[in-house]
Symmetry: C2
Subunit: 176 residues, 2 copies
């Protein structure tokens, strides 16, 4: 739900109803309220994607990238362009001026984890270390941005176009 509506537009009432759980139970299992819900949602998504990434990266960076792209493409298409990445959704919520909410910190960690996985695989396959780091960041950033563009345009074209360039880039980096 966060990946569809964003964090602030996702109400606990709706969430409980969608989960067919009573509203009262929400605060029994998540005593810290909405922040905890958001944090655990981000971490859950992060781990889910990271698992898929780890598995597919065993066949090399090209296969890993393809899996990453396919995964997000499926989410956008299956939701008829209504859903995106919940980690990005949490990232663009404004935090209070003086502290960093745990959900935002979790989002940062998730991004870092995805980048680390990609960069390590690139290095293992002969890419220059510095370039590997930059490419991993570029991949995550481009996919996240392309997802949002797909939702606005109601087309998968942005993701598909970015995918082509990213694939060529990765292929070039591991044989240079």
């Amino acid at each position: 739900m966060i990946s569809r509506r964003g964090l602030s537009a996702t109400s606990i009432r709706e969430m409980a109803k969608h989960a067919k759980a009573p509203l009262g139970s929400t605060y029994h299992y998540f005593p810290e309220g909405k922040q905890q819900l958001a944090t655990e949602a981000v971490r859950h998504t992060g781990e889910w994607v990271a698992r898929s990434l780890r598995r597919e990266l065993e066949a090399g960076p090209v296969a890993g990238l393809r899996a990453f792209l396919t995964l997000w493409r499926k989410i956008v298409v299956d939701s008829d362009f209504h859903a995106g990445c919940p980690v990005l959704a949490v990232s663009i919520e404004e935090p209070p001026a003086d502290e960093i909410p745990p959900a935002l910190a979790a989002a940062a960690e998730v991004f870092a984890q995805w980048e680390t996985l990609l960069a390590a695989s690139l290095r293992d396959h002969g890419a220059d270390p510095r370039r590997a780091d930059q490419l991993a960041t570029l991949v995550v950033a481009a996919v996240e941005g392309a997802l949002a563009m797909c939702r606005a345009k109601r087309t998968t074209e942005p993701l598909d176009r970015a995918a082509q360039q990213l694939q060529a880039l990765i292929a070039d980096a591991i044989e240079g």
Copy 2:
């Protein structure tokens, strides 16, 4: 304000107060309410960025890209990682199931405009047309995604890393 909080978390009351305008006036000048506010905000930002892009692209795609990057980098840094791109913020709000709100359509047009400007400049400088389109999309997507990552991590590193790769890519494309 949309670029900080997102659309649904931005209240008309707060907006009017921030603009030192009376709340009643909002519905006098924007009779269609919040949707109209969002649409005009998206279009305004789109035109503002497009103007800067057109100006800098006269010196070539490399200069244009650098201006695009610098512009967004400044917004993130000046806001102490609290603000991002309002067009992206509007893009990831879930629309009603049966219709497309005008603000979302405006966001799609803005993205398309930025891509068109970049792609045209790339073609004018000798890039392969197909590659030019893909690269233009990649640039916009990567910058939008990197902005969100910067906010989560409270660092400009994602944007700077993506920038390096994008600059190399553009340079390579216009001399291939």
